[in-house]
Each structure stands twice: as C-alpha cells, then as structure tokens.
Symmetry: C2
C-alpha cells in the first residue's frame, strides 16, 4: 500500500476531526498507510470529536513508519486547540505539520502528500508569510505547478492562484498558459485516466472581452497560447466567456477548464462540488491532494463537519501514488530547503 | 394589463424566435400586452422558426398600440437575417429596436421594457460603441442602476459590469457599494416581495483577501460600505470569500449576493440558472428585464433555442409593471436623449 503523509492542518479548524473521521473509514484504511504529521493532543481530541477510535501508533520519526503512524511535531496546549479560536502557536504548528509531511515526501519516506486545511490568516497571525500550500510546493520542488480542482462533473485549473485581483492582469502570460495546458493535459491523462482531454480556456475579461470591447488580453496573450498548445497536440480551445463555458464543461462538453484567476474558476467549482471536490497539485514528481474547502471555524468542534472531501483527497492521493513508476519510488528527491 | 415594450434583439441570433415562442404562450398573453419593436421580415421568419402563429398587428407608431402590436423599426433584407451571420445592417437594427422600445417607455407609451439578446460584438461591427443595455439605460434615465440576475435559488447583483478586468479594482468605491446595496435592498423588497432581504457582499480578492494577505480593498473600501449600509437599516454582511458565500446563498442563507465584478457573480448564476434566470435592472422608474443568456448564434434558426428565460423575463416585467403606482403611470418621464 502507498504511504501517504498527511498534515493535520489548523488545530482550531475542522482539519484534525475530518482527518480522524476519514482515516477511520475501512475504504481509506484499505487504500493507504497514513503517516500523520500533527500533535498528539490535537489528534486525540479530533478522534473524540469525530467519535472514532485512535488507531495510530505514535512514532518519533517518520522514517520509522512501517504502519499507520502519528508523528508528533508539536506539543500544543489546550488553549491552542479551541475550535474557532486560532492562536499564534496554532498558526506556527499547522505550518510545521505541513513542512514535516513535505520533508517526508521529499526524502522518500512517503509516496504522496495529503494536506488538511490551513488558515492563511492564522499562519500570518503567527508572523509567518504564507500564501498557500500550492505556492510552497512549487518553491520546494522547484517546479511549475498547476492547481486543479477535480469533482465528478467539473475539473478546473487556475492560471493565477492566491494573488490580489489587481495583480491578475499582469500575471497572465502566453508562456505560462502553454505550460499550464501541458501540465493539465498530462495530469488528466496520467492522473485521472482521460485518454484525450478536451480543455477549454477562459478569457480574462467578461464575455472574453466581447471581441476586444473590454480588454485585449484574449487576442494578445491567451489566443496565441491556445494556438501553441494545439501545435503540441493538446486539444485546447478558447478563449471562451467563462460564464458560458463552465456550464458547458459541467454538462460534459469539456474535460477540463483553465480559468485565468481564482474566483473565475473556484466559485463555480465549489458551488457544484462543495463536499466532494479534491484539490490536486499537478506538476510535482509525487502526488499532492487536499480537500477543496477551508478550516470552517464555525463548524470546528461540533462533529458536524463533512469528511467527504478529505476522504476523496486521501483516496485520490493513494491512487495516484500507486501509479508512480516503481523505479521512481524510494528515490531521494532533491530538497530545495 | 401592463403594456410591455419588447425589443427583438439581434436578427441573426435567437432573440426573435424566443420572443415569438414566449409571446405565443397563453400565460404570457394573459399577463401583458406586448408592443414589439423590430422588423416585419425578421418577426415573420421568427414565427415560422418557432412554429407559432403571427398574432401581432403591425402598427406604424407605438403610440397607437391598444393591443398586441409589432412596430417595424427597420426594413431588413434576407441577407441580414441569416442565423449566426451578423451583418452591419443587423448590428444597427438591434440597437434601433432597443432605442425605439426605450423611447416608448420614456414617453409613457409602455409600462415596462423587456429586451431580447443583442450581440455587443455585432453592434460594434456596425461601428457603434455599445457596452450593454444596462449602461445605456443608466445614461438615458439619468439614474444609478444595478444589474440583478434573479433565479429560483440565487439572486446576484454586480458592482461593476462590462469593463476589462484590469479596470475593476479602480472602479470599486465605497459610495457606489452603498448605493448598490440601497438599490438591491429596495429592489428585493418592492420587486420580488422579500420583506427583510439578507444581503451578502463579496470581497474583491480571492478568499476576500485572506485578512489582507492579497489585496486590501476589503478593509479599505468594502467593509466601510457594509457598515454604512447597516447604519441605514440594510441587513448587509461581508466582505465574504466569493467561493464560499455564493454556495451558502444558493442554499438559502442569503437573499442576495453583491458580487464585485462580472465573472465573480455571473459564472455561478449561469451555472445554476441557465434556462430560467432573468436579468433585472434595478434603479429605474420603470421595470426592465431580459433573459440571462446571449444571442447563441450556434442555435439560431434551428428552433431548438429554449424560450424559458425570455418567458420568465416577460412575466417578471409584467408583474413589476403592475406594481408601479397608478399615479406614476402615463406620466411623461424626462428623456435625456
């Protein structure tokens, strides 16, 4: 079975409890060996909230993991575990869980990475700059990555991720869109088993600029990228008006949509697939997945948080990790710490 | 019955045929007296495509309309009516239909306005600058207006409409958001019969900026507007992350969502309500509605275009027109031509 490093996420959010709930499911236990990077007190508390037995063995080092394991990264106090009440220590902890889990993958001690939700704001309160898991992974693996949200009806990737809207226009690039389309095409083929992915590319502006009436990025930057991708044999089309094409994709006309910015793609995705979507990072040598929702402070501690997206994220990670060629497993990847 | 001025839309698109189909429905004929501003050849052709009888009487002047009427605005040739093949004459015509219909409302000859889809690109090809019905209405009525998309599950208004994405950040204003919330609150109360509208306001940036990590418009411009609106007794909240709040609104947590820009609100709306949504302009002394879709050149002439959104637009316009106080009817409105 593939060994999946799991980071426990924000200890004041729903991450620990949905992780506990998901890892207790027989279908998950049959699919992977979890190595959870977290905090012992947070983990036990999460098992109580989720009303599941604590089946993980504590191990000091991830390298010693031969079965389901909990690797304690921090020693948090009760006050750092209050639902919906993030502390600076909790902010530091959630980032430490992620970094230790990532180290385990980079060092070949795990075959894939699944991350429970963190709070960017919580981490920032601890004084640490952090824009997102995806951005850190790109930097640490030294790779261009693409954030893909995958659900039963819709698969959406975003060309720009966690940047201010005012920054978006200057971050659109022809070269970057071509690279995204290459990753998208390859990811859908290899990861999701779609033989001939049909990719739709959104315009940047409303109605894709309506023929240049508002904004010219479509003809200047996006259309040339689509032509170049097509020359590489990728079945990409567009630039399409986002408010028309995403519905068509959800109805089956396309296998994937490349949105130009976060809200253009993610609002629709979360509307369709709130409890079942998975966030998948394309472009890394090892799979990385996460649920498509956040820390949900309002639900934390209530036991009502739905573990479906975390479950789907764990299962997809395990499936992708099983597909990594045997020759590449156990190879120590270059860490760029 | 209220008299509704109807503009026939792009003669190469689906506008004429969905108008013909919708106006033939008994529930529509029972609700309003249509005065269609269009072209005789285009209208007859549309009735044939929609397979409905031509029941409108031709009248030279809208002022003479005492029953269902067609007011011929242009004399188009066959070549200007080819489905999916817009001509310059067709571009000019669709704008002329709209302007004559608008005149009829401004001059008190009609109680409301319902506009079939136009092609902004088609109008631009005729050499006429045009950004949208909503923008022209604001200018002609001399009023601040708000574009509202209303469907069974979701009601979304947009603070900025048809502008390049790079223009959006500088168009966000505290004063404008307050005015939008006043119009939104009033429109939902008076027009849609919601006694105490709960309005959610989206942030501009991904995750509403995640506490200032990417973009500061939320704290600098949007939050102050929400406070001012609340001081006026409006139940507004936010700024919320768009990718979370729109799903919550669709599930019933809010009566309306104010999005900051076009694709933030409209992608989700069209995904949920493609064939049943209505576009309603708030802030005018007379109601104006339209379907929430475009000219659909690929469907034009096939008879397969769904008239449901046009039907809903006509019925909502009639209902709103019936609510305009009797005292205000027939009053000649100031035309700002």
């Amino acid at each position: 079975l593939p060994r999946i490093a799991v980071s426990l996420g924000d200890p004041s959010g729903i991450g620990p409890e949905i992780t506990a709930a998901a890892l207790a499911l027989p279908k998950v236990r049959r699919a992977l060996v979890p190595v959870v990077f977290g905090d012992e007190r947070a983990w036990k508390r999460a098992c109580r909230i989720a009303q599941v037995p604590d089946r993980l063995e504590r191990r000091a080092l991830a390298s010693a993991a031969t079965g389901p394991a909990l690797v304690p990264v921090t020693t948090l106090r009760e006050k750092d575990l209050q639902p919906g009440k993030p502390t600076a220590a909790g902010g530091r902890a959630q980032l430490a869980f992620f970094e230790r889990a990532l180290d385990a993958v980079l060092e070949g001690q795990a075959d894939g990475l699944c991350t429970a939700p963190v709070s960017k704001e919580g981490i920032a309160k601890a004084g640490i700059p952090f824009t997102g898991h995806t951005e850190v992974l790109a930097e640490r693996f030294g790779a261009r990555v693409l954030m893909l949200l995958a659900g039963p009806k819709l698969r959406v990737a975003v060309h720009t991720t966690h940047v201010a809207l005012s920054e978006v226009p200057r971050r659109i690039s022809t070269k970057g869109i071509v690279e995204d389309l290459v990753l998208f095409d390859r990811g859908l083929k290899a990861g999701l088993g779609i033989a001939h992915p049909r990719l739709a590319v959104c315009g940047l502006n409303p109605h894709a600029g309506d023929g240049g009436l508002f904004g010219d990025e479509e003809s200047r930057l996006i259309a040339p990228a689509i032509r170049r991708a097509r020359a590489k044999g990728i079945d990409a089309s567009g630039p399409w008006a986002a408010d028309g094409v995403i519905g068509r994709a959800a109805a089956g006309a396309f296998d994937g949509v490349l949105a130009m910015f976060h809200d253009q793609g993610l609002v629709a995705f979360k509307l369709l697939h709130f409890d079942e979507g998975v966030n998948l990072t394309l472009g890394l040598p090892r799979p990385r997945t996460s649920p498509d929702h956040g820390v949900a402070y309002d639900l934390a501690g209530t036991g009502r948080a739905n573990p479906a997206s975390m479950t789907a994220a764990l299962l997809l990670c395990a499936r992708l990790a099983s597909q990594v060629p045997q020759a590449a497993r156990g190879v120590r990847l270059a860490s760029r710490k």
